[in-house]
Symmetry: C2
Subunit: 501 residues, 2 copies
């Protein structure tokens, strides 16, 4: 008697986000959908912050239309999305009414499974969205962002799983965005969750492949009882992406575990994306090999290239080593947040500032907010001296409550703003697009009627004339690494936009 | 108490052979040697058939000089080589006296560990070389070529391990040249060997990474008691190569196993080869991703590109699918040989012939020899009707004895031939070079005094003027895939050289 391991296919979202800077057009995914739909996956991840952003910033695609198209093309599949809790798909905290509206509209347009995480693992920041998902009757998945630090023990992660379970989550996901989850902790963490939360607690494991060890971690997680694991079809796998789906199937042969995936379908999906991928070569991740230094530095590869680009803009690229050494210090100062959007950008940029201008002489508004609790609670205490500096910089006090509790209802105002934009169709979906990406949304609404642009068909031409005037990023970074900062230097505030050169 | 897992580093031989068509010059390996020597490896693989061939065919390097240089640069390391049993580093069977001479000279020039295999897993073909190694006092490693077929059971492989142990081998290697070794059989095979041959039997595991599952297989092999595993530094890993050394170290952290490798040294080795590798881009393997189809087709990727190139020469590249379907049939007809040099070339070429000219209408001399037992015994019975055809083609009878028993002493004649070649220095080493690669050796001797050519420094120029007039292979295939055939069609013999276009 073998136990069936279920699989979430990532190719349609995180696969091309991690490998091809999220640039794949719907047109290039549609032909694979019939095979994806019939292959036997537990769910198909196909939507998230970066794909939404890329749709309106580069591809002139309506992300809601993309979702409805997936719904049509994958009638037998659970569609899955990644949601940044109270941040939704944007970079700020939204008021609960907006969060609820977003979840409702996503469910209405076809979403089935909501994987909800918070960059700081602050459960208060995922509660509203998880409760909203439960009200729609869809699958609410609570997420633990896996990271390592002196404070991140199996025990603490299991505590968090228990809190998520108490919120009524249908499943728990261990999300290892930086490929830091080694085999033994994978085993211990899954075992720990099953023991504490009950054997019938459905545990999902999401790992990236960057460090070359996580296929083994999946095996160990499965041995410990994991129910569903995430993989990406081989032609969109490895490097900063994920472990290959077909290899998972083969790995389990002869063991006490099996998948119900159809190898013939997988081969067709693989061949499809193998044929499409070269057209996005320009956007391909520069480094597709294995990188284990991250175990010691704690700095994901994408974050390094981002900081490198910031330094280059300042003509200080020779100081990268100092910045890399500064990151763990900044992280400790900030209470050891996991490094994932947006905390990775906030910590990385502050490390750059510290090296270029002296430690905490300049501070981004976001870093001050992080220090003052406006992103939520961190696992460790934050440095009181730097909190004091943050108070001076930001001219506001530290908070300990749930950040969104400070926000006033904003839906009506967002609707009014969106309605004033040329090309906005006044739908709730358009209001949400405006809410999450205000600058980009305006340009997108104005050009939407020209229809989708496929950057893969003719990459050179497409880059020369980016949709909506957006700046192409040279294929080096996922689009969600662009971020606007308010920087306060000596009490004077500056608006700084950080994006790859 | 954790158990120490020892590691063999492959970068200096199989790593660049699998990824860069064996083209790396000694000059580009030397700077890494101090770190390799101090990193804590059990052994450093640095010599074998393809590197020897590439030295004299492309790099104008004396392979014996390369060995002596490694000996000097790696004073604290065990040097390891791969030896094709009775074939030595060539493609034919050599008489025992030549085999013994080769082993003696290799030991004398600095070799410590001899990994000895036979393409058919016929133990009679490795006996002479293993006994010769034992007489030198060096490490004699008996090798099982891992493959899959209805006849290849764990039981049969363990039987072979027992036979190797009885020959007095110092260790047993499981050699998975095509990345077919899944985790469960890895566990079962290592357990089986330990159980049958004794827990103190030193078991080595060599796997390639092609199918994406073998890092897990290494973990399972270790759990089953494997003592030494093979990996390659990350900047020369993955794809048709091997699992990354650094990832092995990280994978084991927190488990009951550990390596004694120095991560600081590994980082330096990685950085060195990361900087060197781009200079060999022209020779880089075309496909660096994961390929799982081989589990079903049994056809290694390199073999496919080889057959593709043969078909292209015949203007019949559209018939590749038929050839791929023919390979398993030919393999069954021949008694299920593992597909490894030279059996992979022999089976592949016959499959091409069968498709182009009708089944066994034409037969290579090598395939006839395989059918008639001149390469040794296969695990399964060979098709009697095709044996009969082979008798007619080759005009000789089938044999059941050890092939080398038919050979007469040949050393004196080889010495006479070599001595007649301009530039030959009359050393035993030169005689051996002539013995193994007669055509290429003559050209090499004539140009040797011009010194090494580094194809990496200036790849374009180097290809335009190949050393010794050798035909550059465009970087698509390891050099050891070139092979000369005697082809008999309707009783008339033709000389056919198959090499990548």
């Amino acid at each position: 008697m073998s136990r069936t391991i279920e699989v979430t296919e990532l190719a349609l979202r995180d696969g091309h986000q991690s490998l091809l800077a999220t640039r794949m057009a719907m047109e290039d995914m549609a032909p694979a959908c019939a095979d994806v739909d019939a292959a036997g996956f537990w769910s198909v991840e196909c939507w998230g912050g970066a794909t939404y952003d890329s749709c309106i910033r580069y591809l002139n695609e309506d992300p809601w239309e993309r979702l409805r198209t997936f719904r049509k093309l994958l009638p037998n599949s659970r569609l899955q999305m990644l949601l940044r809790g109270q941040n939704l798909l944007g970079y700020r905290h939204y008021e609960d009414g907006v969060v609820e509206r977003f979840v409702e509209k996503s469910a209405e347009n076809g979403m089935d499974v909501f994987r909800v995480f918070d960059a700081l693992n602050d459960v208060r920041n995922v509660r509203t969205s998880l409760e909203a998902v439960r009200r729609t009757g869809k699958h609410a998945q609570g997420t633990i962002c896996y990271t390592t630090s002196p404070l991140h023990t199996i025990e603490r992660f299991v505590d968090m799983a228990e809190q998520l379970k108490e919120l009524g989550c249908d499943s728990i996901c261990i999300k290892d965005m930086a490929a830091l989850l080694r085999p033994q902790p994978a085993y211990d963490l899954v075992s720990g969750i099953k023991e504490r939360c009950g054997d019938d607690t459905q545990v999902h494991v999401h790992v990236h492949a960057t460090t070359g060890v996580t296929m083994v971690s999946l095996m160990k997680a499965i041995e410990a009882g994991a129910d569903v694991v995430d993989t990406s079809i081989s032609s969109l796998s490895l490097g900063p992406g994920h472990n290959p789906t077909e290899a998972l199937v083969e790995m389990l042969q002869g063991t006490g575990y099996t998948t119900r995936l159809d190898k013939g379908r997988l081969l067709k999906i693989k061949e499809h994306f193998a044929s499409v991928r070269p057209r996005y070569a320009e956007f391909e991740s520069k480094f597709l090999g294995v990188e284990t230094e991250i175990f010691d530095s704690q700095i994901p590869g994408g974050m390094i290239s981002n900081m490198e680009s910031q330094l280059r803009q300042q003509g200080a690229v020779d100081r990268l080593k100092e910045v890399l050494a500064e990151v763990p210090r900044v992280r400790e100062t900030a209470g050891f947040p996991p490094l994932v959007t947006p905390s990775s950008q906030i910590v990385g940029t502050q490390a750059v500032f510290n090296v270029l201008m002296g430690r905490y002489k300049a501070m981004t508004g976001e870093f001050a907010d992080l220090m003052l609790g406006y992103y939520g609670e961190t696992i460790g205490p934050r440095d009181p001296a730097v909190i004091e500096l943050a108070v001076q910089h930001a001219k506001k006090e530290a908070i300990t409550g749930r950040p969104a509790d400070l926000l006033k209802p904003e839906w009506d105002e967002l609707r009014r703003q969106a309605g004033a934009l040329p090309g906005c169709n006044d739908s709730d979906e358009d209001v949400l697009t405006h809410a999450m990406f205000p600058q980009v949304a305006a340009k997108f609404f104005a050009t939407r009627d020209k229809g989708p642009k496929n950057l893969g068909s003719s990459p050179t031409a497409a880059v020369a004339q980016p949709v909506g005037g957006g700046k192409p990023n040279g294929g080096k970074h996922p689009v969600d690494r662009r971020i606007d900062y308010k920087v306060t230097i000596g009490g004077k505030q500056h608006q700084v936009t950080v994006e790859p050169a």
